[in-house]
């Protein structure tokens, strides 16, 4: 008997996604934005795992989740390195002020 259905996973995922978007949009600190992005990625990974668990026979969804985690880790490493060098240069990591990447 299934106590925990797919809806539960999707609701958790939705909450995580919404929280991620909100964090990304509202935060000034780049580290905060970054954490929001991590939330979005993880909600997607949760979705994969859930769909795979309830619909597929193989473990493709789980495999994707693992890929996403690995990618997120790699991304985090690069992003933190970038942040460090930005901080060294500007002595701050406020997204509002770092708006030089435009025409």
């Amino acid at each position: 008997m299934e106590i925990i259905g797919i809806q539960s996973y999707l609701i958790i995922s939705l909450i995580m996604f919404s929280a991620g978007i909100f964090t990304t949009v509202s935060r000034q600190n780049i580290i905060g934005i970054f954490m929001g992005i991590e939330l979005i990625l993880n909600s997607a990974a949760l979705n994969f795992a859930a769909f795979s668990r309830f619909s597929a026979i193989n473990l493709e969804g789980q495999a994707f989740s693992i890929f996403i985690i690995v990618l997120a880790a790699a991304e985090a490493a690069i992003a933190l390195a970038l942040l460090l060098s930005i901080y060294r240069r500007h002595k701050e990591i406020n997204a509002e002020h770092l708006n030089k990447l435009r025409f």
Binding site: I21, T24, V25, S26, I33, A95, E96, N99, K100, L101, R102, F103
Partner: protein
């Protein structure tokens, strides 16, 4: 055995001079700079000498044959298109071996002589390269087995004469003389070429009509002499332009001969050809070039014999040329000019002989003339060298004491050309005169022209000898005899001038006319009966008498009573002026042909300038207008459209640019907004 040599290696006769010409022409400049003139002279003389040796072999092998007397050295097939099949092959028969011996023999002596004559000339190597090439061309002309191959030699001879006459081309006068020789020859060559074309096309037509095509497509080529001799009778009945085809062909070919052999009306180049070095004149006048026309007619005697009209034209032209040139020779003061006119006059004799069908007599005279004319020219060269390039005989005189060898040889040759017995010229000239009288094509008037010419010849030769070798030395120079290298050829040539005539002593004088009988097979004469009657003795005595009379007059005027020679021209001032200016023929040609051509050219030039150019300019103007309209349209319509597109793109870009703020949150919001919009769109529609 010898026959096989010639059959297989006969071409070497022609190859040696060609190799000599190539060696001197390509490497001569370097050799002359590095090793001096010696090797060049040796190469040039040796090549002709080898050629001469082979000529002797060829002569002996032809003589030793029992019948037929023809050897053909076939090298390879040259052209093979339809009926036109031509081989590179050489023909050795009595006629060609005689010519070959004259060319290489006299040519060799002239080469030897030139080694000294041209000493110190910066163009030494060039000179000998041309000279060898000249001999090569002439040998090709003489030995060619067919008319096309012969034409190569024919043109080569013309080219070499141009190169050698204009040898000292830095002097404008010489270059002009070279041009004149070349252009006048070109006029004749056109006739020759037309003759070949006519002969070929008509004969090919007849052969294909008569079903004899298989014959033509077989081994024989249409233009080879043996094939022509057998088949030329097919042309018998054809008429073109209201004349018999054979006559037209013969006249065309004869036009070529007048160019090469300096006959009326194309003789004008020969006196000017004196501009070249003297040995070249000797070569042109004696061994090569001018004999080409005579040889060609003799070679095609079977063709010419078919048309008595053409023969008549040839005989009359020959007699007229002989008379005209001899009259001019009487008053010229340039030693080489006198000799040049005598050559034209003697060539007239040869054509007279051809015209009355006495081919072997013509060739006989050609041979004896080659010896004495070469001797005269080389002697003149020796005199000119001794007098430091003085050519005016009025400023010579008394040379006999200083140059005994030159004097003796010159006098022998002068006797020979005058036709005194027993010098060679007597026999050959006498045979021609007798033929002119007695032959079926002959006429007493033709004989009379030749008879008068004989008198004039002996007159101007005596005059020349008197003014050059007798009397006082008027040059004011100290004169030395020329070295052995110069006198040796003179002696050899004088020897032949004296004795060559004995090869053709006529039956009337107890001889057997060996020379003429040797040539008989070529001219298709089957050993006719000995011809002699009392008339022959009468004519012979008459010509000897007029020769002596001419010589006596010459002696009287220029040796015995020099003052008379000064008075006479003043007495007959108009006649003298006319003769001295060569009947103003050069001026007339200049006025009619040269100026005519120039006027035509300037007319054409004006036409080009004012009519053609105008049309072109109008076209150009129209095009320019058109281009202007198109340019305006391009500027105002096409370019405008292009500009508009660019401007639109630019403004669209600058509008879209405003979205990019550089703030990450704004981007995220935008993205969110867009995605939401997309989802809503999907949900509603």
């Amino acid at each position: 055995m010898m026959k096989e040599i010639i059959q297989n290696y006969g071409y070497l006769i022609v190859i040696f001079p060609l190799l000599g010409a190539l060696a001197n022409g390509l490497l001569g400049r370097m050799m002359q700079k590095r090793y001096g003139e010696m090797p060049i002279g040796i190469i040039a003389c040796a090549s002709i000498f080898f050629s001469f040796i082979f000529s002797i072999i060829a002569f002996l092998s032809v003589v030793s044959m029992q019948n037929n007397l023809v050897i053909i050295n076939n090298l390879f097939n040259w052209i093979s298109i339809g009926y036109l099949k031509t081989d590179i092959s050489f023909l050795f028969d009595p006629l060609s071996v005689v010519m070959m011996l004259i060319i290489t023999g006299v040519g060799f002596l002239i080469h030897l002589y030139s080694v000294f004559y041209m000493k110190g000339d910066p163009g030494f190597y060039r000179y000998f390269a041309y000279l060898n090439l000249f001999i090569f061309s002439m040998l090709v002309l003489v030995l060619a087995d067919n008319m096309l191959f012969m034409f190569i030699g024919w043109e080569g001879v013309g080219l070499c004469s141009y190169l050698l006459i204009g040898f000292w081309y830095e002097d404008m006068k010489n270059a002009v003389a070279g041009n004149k020789a070349f252009i006048v020859n070109r006029v004749g060559d056109l006739g020759f070429l037309l003759g070949i074309f006519l002969l070929f096309s008509l004969l090919a037509e007849q052969l294909s009509a008569g079903g004899a095509l298989s014959l033509a497509n077989g081994n024989s080529s249409i233009l080879s002499f043996s094939f022509l001799a057998e088949n030329v009778h097919l042309l018998g009945g054809i008429n073109i332009f209201g004349m018999s085809a054979v006559t037209v062909i013969c006249l065309c070919l004869f036009a070529g001969a007048t160019g090469k052999s300096a006959q009326i009306p194309l003789y004008v180049w020969l006196p000017d050809a004196m501009a070249g070095p003297t040995p070249v004149s000797a070569l042109i006048h004696a061994a090569t070039m001018v004999t080409a026309g005579v040889y060609m007619i003799a070679r095609l005697s079977f063709l010419f014999s078919m048309s008595s009209t053409a023969l008549g034209v040839i005989a009359v032209t020959g007699a007229a040329t002989a008379l005209l040139a001899a009259s001019l020779g009487c008053v010229q003061n340039d030693i080489k000019k006198v000799l040049a006119y005598s050559t034209i006059s003697q060539l007239g004799y040869m054509f007279l002989a051809m015209g009355v069908g006495a081919y072997s007599a013509g060739i006989f005279h050609l041979m004896t003339h080659a010896f004495f004319k070469a001797c005269l020219f080389l002697g003149a060269g020796s005199v000119i060298l001794a007098l430091h390039h003085e050519q005016d005989i009025t400023r010579m005189g008394g040379l006999r004491r200083f140059m005994p060898m030159t004097f003796i040889t010159f006098i022998i040759a002068a006797f020979a050309i005058s036709g005194l017995p027993p010098f060679s010229g007597f026999f050959s000239k006498d045979e021609i005169l007798w033929s002119a009288w007695s032959s079926s094509n002959g006429h007493p008037l033709l004989w009379f022209a030749g008879f008068l010419t004989a008198g004039m010849t002996s007159f101007y030769m005596t005059r020349l000898a008197m003014l050059t070798f007798f009397g006082e030395n008027r040059s004011g120079l100290i004169i030395k005899e020329s070295p052995f290298l110069v006198t040796a050829p003179l002696m050899i040539l004088a020897f032949f001038s004296l004795f060559a005539g004995f090869t053709g002593v006529p039956e009337a004088l107890g001889g057997n006319n060996m020379f003429s009988h040797f040539l008989d097979p070529v001219f298709g004469i089957q050993g006719g009966a000995a011809h002699h009657d009392t008339m022959e003795y009468v004519l012979m005595s008459a010509s000897v008498l007029i020769v002596i009379a001419g010589a006596g007059l010459g002696y009287l005027l220029y040796g015995h009573r020099p003052q008379l020679a000064r008075i006479l021209p003043e007495k007959f001032r108009h006649l003298h002026k006319l003769l001295y200016n060569k009947y103003f023929i050069d001026e007339i040609y200049d006025a009619v042909f040269v100026s005519g051509t120039k006027m035509f050219a300037s007319f054409i030039s004006a036409f080009d300038k004012y009519v053609i150019d105008l049309i072109v300019n109008i076209f150009g103007f129209v095009l320019r207008i058109e281009a202007m309209i198109i340019g305006w349209f391009d500027l105002h319509f096409i370019d405008k459209a292009v500009d508009l597109i660019a401007e639109f793109t630019l403004s669209a870009g600058s509008g879209a640019r405003k979205i990019q703020t550089g703030r990450i949150q704004a981007y995220v919001m935008l993205m969110l907004f867009a995605v939401t919009l997309g989802i809503l769109y999907r949900l509603i529609f």
